[in-house]
């Protein structure tokens, strides 16, 4: 009882530590697959108090409480999606470090392909034009790589 109280008080005093490492003192899952899921999920959830950290790394009381929630949900058999939905229902999309694929975030996730495609199109156009110019130029002493 005193141990719990002590840990609680310690946790409370460290709640505004900010920047200090948080280490999970709970026992790891016996099943490594479950532990891996726990590690992955907690590393993708944002701590709402120390907003620059994941709940895996944050020392804040809320982060501990949320880790406990994740742990209990995994233990009770909930899927990763269900756990994420739980968090989003309470804190909004802000809590996810990996943005969901929604209509709003479409541009975000499509950006790599769109930018590459558009850019490649532009580059190919330039190369074609310059290659046509080169074909018209007299062959001179070129080459070298410096």
């Amino acid at each position: 009882m005193t141990r719990i109280l002590r840990t609680l008080l310690l946790a409370l005093t460290l709640a505004w530590a900010g920047g200090a490492l948080a280490i999970d003192t709970e026992r790891a899952f016996d099943d490594p697959a479950l532990q891996a899921r726990y590690d992955n999920i907690t590393r993708e959830l944002r701590c709402l108090v120390c907003q620059n950290e994941t709940i895996a790394d944050s020392n804040a009381t809320l982060a501990r409480d949320l880790r406990r929630e994740v742990r209990e949900m995994i233990a009770s058999g909930q899927t990763d999606d269900q756990i994420r939905d739980f968090m989003i229902a309470r804190y909004g999309d802000f809590v996810l470090y990996r943005p969901r694929m929604t209509r709003m975030n479409f541009l975000l996730w499509a950006a790599p392909v769109l930018l590459l495609a558009f850019g490649a199109f532009a580059v190919v156009r330039v190369v074609r034009r310059r290659a046509a110019e080169a074909a018209l130029e007299p062959e001179g002493p070129e080459g070298g790589q410096s």
Binding site: L48, L62, D65, L66, E69, A89, R90, Y91, G92
Partner: protein, 180 residues
């Protein structure tokens, strides 16, 4: 020719966004509960652990839910405002003592005054999580049908009470009246 103006154009758009962004608070988290049913809870009361405080008991009228703790500086700051609000006797004020030491909390209420009709003791923080609480003090307004109408983060002030809470309480009352 025209493509040379694209970088300038993009910059203007960016600058416009940055200008608007300057007026926002990036760390403020809007509540996804607004407009949704308030999360149910049943917790032991602070004064007497045997006596429960339940959300079920509060249906039928608007009520205010205030999350606080003795460890929270802002809560101390807003406490007198809450006492004043409670004196107005508009709606009941229900407190959520978040991850706190019960003895210290009771002492606090004795010393500073008790604006709450009831205080629920959330030692484990589960109810706070259900309500999406991330930084005390936070104050919610719940309508008669159990819908969350508004959430205020940061110490409560009379200005916020007058501007945001009272109008919504009125609207909820007249809305209710209109339905019958």
């Amino acid at each position: 020719m025209w493509k040379f103006i694209i970088p300038f154009g993009l910059f203007v758009v960016l600058a416009a966004f940055l200008y608007v962004g300057l007026q926002r608070d990036p760390s403020y988290i809007p509540s996804p509960l607004i407009g949704k049913p308030a999360p149910e809870f049943s917790l032991p009361s602070l004064q007497d652990a045997a006596y429960p405080v339940s959300s079920a008991d509060l249906k039928g009228r608007s009520w205010v839910f205030n999350v606080w703790g003795t460890w929270c500086g802002g809560c101390r700051q807003e406490h007198q405002v809450l006492v004043a609000i409670a004196k107005q006797n508009v709606v009941p004020l229900i407190g959520l003592d978040w991850k706190d030491d019960s003895a210290a909390a009771q002492q606090w209420l004795r010393e500073l005054g008790n604006p709450y009709a009831a205080v629920a003791s959330d030692a484990e923080g589960r109810v706070a999580i259900d309500w999406g609480v991330y930084g005390a003090p936070e104050t919610f307004l719940i309508g008669p049908d159990g819908t969350v109408l508004y959430k205020h983060i940061a110490p409560m002030t009379m200005e916020v009470w007058a501007k945001e809470f009272l109008p919504r309480i009125e609207a909820a009352k007249s809305g209710k009246g209109g339905q019958t």
